[in-house]
C-alpha cells in the first residue's frame, strides 16, 4: 500500500508545518505582522529540546514542555524588545525588523555554539508496525498525536478562555477592544507566547522525527509554514492547520510521483497560485480593503 504510506509521510510532515504555521497566523491575525523570526524560534526550541535531552537527561515529554515554556518566554521577549515600539510604525518597518531579528537569532546561535549540525538522540525505539501494508513507526504516531493534542488545546484556549476571547477581540478591532477594557499589550504578548510555544514544540518534534538539527534549520520550514498559513488564509487558525497538512501532503505527492527535485518548487508555486487566484486563502473571506 504505497499510497497509504505516502499519505502517512505527508501528514507527518504537514503536522510540523501546521504547528509552525499556527504561530505565523496568530501573530498576523492580531498585529498584521509577518513574523519572519518565527522559523528561528522553532530552531531555538529544537536546540532547547536537544540540550535538555542530552545534557539534563530529560525524557521526551519534559523536554517538550521545557522547550515550549522557554520558547514562550523567548517569543514574548522578542515582541517586547523588537516589535512593541514599532506598533504604530509602518508595516514595512516592522517586517524589516522581523527579518533583522531572524538573522540575529540565526547568527547569534552560530556565534554561541558554532554552525555544526547535531544529531537528536534516539529517544523512541525505531520499531514500526504494519498497518494495511504500510510501515508506521511508533515515533510518527506519537508525533502526530502530540500535534493533534496541541491543536485541540489551542482551539480550547482561543474559544473557551478569557485570554482567547481577548485575543479574538484584539484581532477584530484593537481600538474597540481597548475601549472595552482589554489590556492590548498583554494580549499581544500572550499571542506571541502561545505561537512561540507551538513553534518550540514543532522544533522538538522535528528533531525527533528528522534527527538532524542546525542553526539555519528554521529557514526553509519557516518559509513553508508561511506558505501554509497563506494557503489556509492568513490570520485564520483552522486555516493554518489545514494549510499545513495540505502542503505536507502535496509535497509528498510531488515526490511520490518521481519529481522529488521539484518538491520545494511545488510549495512556492502553490503560494504564487494562491496569491493570484485566491489571495485570502482557502478559509478566507473576500473582504475589500478600505483605502
Amino acid at each position: 500500500m504505497e499510497w497509504l504510506q505516502q499519505l502517512i509521510n505527508g501528514i507527518s510532515l504537514g503536522s510540523i508545518y501546521a504547528l509552525i504555521a499556527l504561530g505565523y497566523t496568530m501573530v498576523y491575525g492580531i498585529i498584521k505582522l509577518i513574523n519572519f523570526a518565527h522559523g528561528d524560534v522553532f530552531m531555538v526550541g529544537s536546540f532547547i529540546g536537544f540540550y535538555s535531552i542530552t545534557v539534563f537527561g530529560l525524557g521526551f515529554f519534559p523536554a517538550l514542555i521545557l522547550s515550549m515554556a522557554a520558547c514562550a518566554l523567548f517569543g514574548v521577549i522578542i515582541e517586547r524588545i523588537a516589535y512593541k515600539r514599532l506598533r504604530n510604525a509602518t508595516r514595512i518597518a516592522a517586517l524589516i525588523t522581523a527579518i533583522g531579528v531572524s538573522l540575529l537569532i540565526e547568527y547569534g546561535v552560530i556565534y554561541i555554539r558554532g554552525a555544526q549540525p547535531e544529531a537528536y538522540p534516539n529517544i523512541f525505539s525505531n520499531k514500526s508496525f504494519e498497518f494495511l501494508g504500510a510501515q508506521i513507526s511508533i515515533q510518527s504516531v506519537l508525533i502526530l498525536s502530540v500535534s493533534v493534542v496541541l491543536m485541540i488545546l489551542l482551539q480550547f484556549i482561543v474559544h473557551k478562555t478569557k485570554t482567547g476571547k481577548a485575543m479574538r477581540a484584539v484581532s477584530h478591532d484593537v481600538e474597540a477592544a481597548k475601549l472595552m477594557g482589554i489590556n492590548v499589550d498583554n494580549t499581544i504578548s500572550a499571542t506571541f507566547a502561545i505561537g512561540s510555544a507551538l513553534a518550540g514544540a514543532a522544533g522538538v518534534i522535528f528533531g525527533v522525527y528528522y534527527t538532524k538539527i542546525d542553526p539555519l534549520m528554521g529557514v526553509i520550514p519557516g518559509l513553508k509554514a508561511f506558505v501554509a498559513a497563506v494557503l489556509g488564509g492568513i490570520g485564520i487558525i483552522p486555516g493554518a492547520m489545514v494549510g499545513g497538512l495540505v502542503l505536507g501532503v502535496v509535497e509528498t505527492i510531488v515526490s511520490a510521483l518521481g519529481f522529488s527535485l521539484w518538491r520545494d518548487a511545488a510549495a512556492f508555486i502553490i503560494l504564487i497560485l494562491i496569491l493570484i487566484f485566491r489571495p485570502s486563502g482557502i478559509f478566507g473571506k473576500n473582504t475589500r480593503e478600505k483605502v
Binding site: Q5, Q6, S12, A119, Y210, K212, T252, A256, S260, L261
Partner: protein
C-alpha cells in the same frame, strides 16, 4: 541568498575541521624526517623529488604521504636500491599552494635534476606542476589527486608525463556495481543520488552503466538535494519498486538521515555508498542499528588481511607508532610504482620511465593490484568496508 551563505559557512567550517585534523597528524609525523636522503655513499644514486604539502592548509595530507615515502625509500635502499643504485629523496614543501608547487617543480627539475617527482597530495597543486613535468619530460605521480584534471587536460588530451596512485571518484561507482553484482549477487538496484554534487552524479552514472553491463536492472533512479531532511516520500517510492540493493552516493550529512528513514520504512536490503559516507557523524545520524548491512568504499583499510597491506601496517606502526591511513598507503605505493617502472625501463630516462608506468599491469601494491588506463587513471582494487554495530569492519577487496 541564505542558501549560499549557509554553503559558504559550511565550507568554512569543514575547512577548519580539516585544518585542525591536519595539525594533529602533522605534529606526530614531523619528528622523523631527514637523514635518509643522504644515504648514498659515493656511488651513483637515483634522485627522486617529492613535491608535497608539508605545511599550510592541507599539511596533514602532505606530511602523511612524506612519512610513508620516507619509509618506502628506506626499505628499498636497505634492500639494495633500484638496480643497485640507492634512491636519493629530495623533499620540497609546496606550502599547500599551487604557485609554490610550480616553483618547487621547477627547482626539482632544473636544479636537482630529479628522475621523477612524487606529488602533490592535492589535485590543485598537482595540476600546477603538469606543464613543468611535460616540458622537462619528468614523470610525476600524484599519490592522492582525485580530480580527472590531474592527468587529463581541459582539452581532453592526456598529460603524457602525469600519473596518479589513487582511483578517481567515478571509479567508485564501478567498484560498487561490481560488488553488488559479484559479491552480493543482486539483480535489481535502485540509485538515490545527491543532485547538487558532481561527485555523486558521477558515481551514480558510472554505477548505472556498469551495473547494467553486468546484467543487472536499475529499477528506480531518484535524486535529492543536499540539505534536505525529509526523504521518506522518495524512499517509499523506491521501496515500492522492490530493489534488492540501493546505491546512495552522497555525503554523510544527508546519507545518515536517508539510511535511518529507509530502515524505518522497512527498506532492509543492503545500502551502499562511497567515501562520502566516511565520517563518524554518520553513526550518530543514522544510528548503529540502521547502519547494519551498509557498505562503503575506501582506498585502503588498516584491517586488510592481505599480505602486503599487513606488512605495510606493521612496518609503519614500528617506525611511527601509529596505524597508517589512506594517505600513508598511497604515498608508500607511489614509491613502489615508480621503482617498478624504473626497473622495467632499465633506465632513468624520463620518457622510458613514462612508457614503463603506462605499461604497468596488475602490479601488487599495498592498496591493491594496480594498472593504468589510457587516460592515466588507475584501474585498481578498492576496499569494501561494512558497518557492523556502528564500527567499520573490513569486508572484502574488489579487484578490477
Amino acid at each position: 541568498m541564505k542558501k549560499s551563505k549557509f554553503a559558504s559557512l559550511f565550507l568554512a567550517s569543514s575547512l577548519l575541521v580539516g585544518m585542525l585534523a591536519g595539525c594533529g597528524a602533522g605534529e606526530e609525523g614531523s619528528s622523523s624526517k631527514g637523514g635518509e636522503s643522504s644515504s648514498a655513499n659515493g656511488g651513483e644514486t637515483i634522485k627522486i623529488g617529492a613535491n608535497l604539502e608539508l605545511s599550510g592548509a592541507v599539511a596533514s595530507y602532505g606530511t602523511s604521504e612524506a612519512d610513508a615515502i620516507d619509509l618506502a625509500v628506506e626499505e628499498i635502499n636497505a634492500d639494495g636500491g633500484i638496480d643497485g643504485k640507492k634512491i636519493e629523496l629530495i623533499k620540497v614543501d609546496n606550502k599547500s599552494d599551487a604557485a609554490e608547487a610550480t616553483s618547487a617543480a621547477i627547482k626539482l627539475t632544473s636544479q636537482d635534476k630529479v628522475v621523477a617527482i612524487i606529488g602533490a597530495a592535492t589535485s590543485g597543486a598537482s595540476v600546477a606542476q603538469v606543464q613543468i613535468a611535460t616540458d622537462t619530460k619528468t614523470p610525476m605521480i600524484s599519490p592522492s589527486g582525485t580530480s580527472t584534471t590531474v592527468t587529463v587536460g581541459d582539452d581532453g588530451k592526456v598529460n603524457p608525463f602525469t600519473f596518479r596512485t589513487a582511483f578517481i571518484d567515478p571509479f567508485q561507482g564501478t567498484v560498487a556495481a561490481n560488488f553488488a553484482s559479484n559479491e552480493l549477487k543482486v539483480k535489481t538496484a535502485a540509485v538515490y543520488a545527491d543532485n547538487a554534487s558532481d561527485y555523486a552524479k558521477g558515481l551514480a552514472a558510472s554505477f548505472i552503466k556498469d551495473f547494467e553491463a553486468a546484467g543487472g536492472t536499475i529499477v528506480a533512479e531518484e535524486s535529492y538535494v543536499a540539505k534536505d531532511t525529509d526523504f521518506r516520500s522518495t524512499l517509499t517510492r523506491i521501496k515500492s519498486s522492490n530493489p534488492e540493493f540501493v546505491f546512495i552516493p552522497g555525503y554523510y550529512e544527508e546519507v545518515g538521515l536517508i539510511v535511518k528513514q529507509a530502515r524505518e520504512l522497512g527498506i532492509n536490503v543492503p545500502l551502499m555508498g562511497a567515501d562520502g559516507w566516511d565520517s563518524p557523524t554518520i553513526v550518530d545520524l543514522a544510528g548503529a542499528d540502521a547502519l547494519n548491512n551498509t557498505f562503503i568504499i575506501t582506498a585502503y583499510s588498516a584491517d586488510d588481511p592481505d599480505g602486503k597491506a599487513k606488512a605495510f601496517a606493521e612496518s609503519f606502526n614500528k617506525k611511527y607508532g601509529k596505524e597508517p591511513n589512506s594517505f600513508n598507503a598511497l604515498g608508500y605505493d607511489s614509491v613502489y610504482l615508480l621503482k617498478d617502472a624504473i626497473e622495467r625501463a632499465g633506465s632513468t630516462d624520463g620518457t622510458k620511465i613514462k612508457e614503463a608506468i603506462e605499461a604497468t599491469d596488475q602490479l601488487e601494491l599495498v592498496t591493491g593490484l594496480y594498472s593504468v588506463d589510457e587516460n592515466h587513471h588507475p584501474i585498481k582494487s578498492a576496499v569494501i568496508i561494512e558497518f557492523v554495530d556502528g564500527k567499520q569492519v573490513f569486508n572484502t577487496k574488489v579487484n578490477p
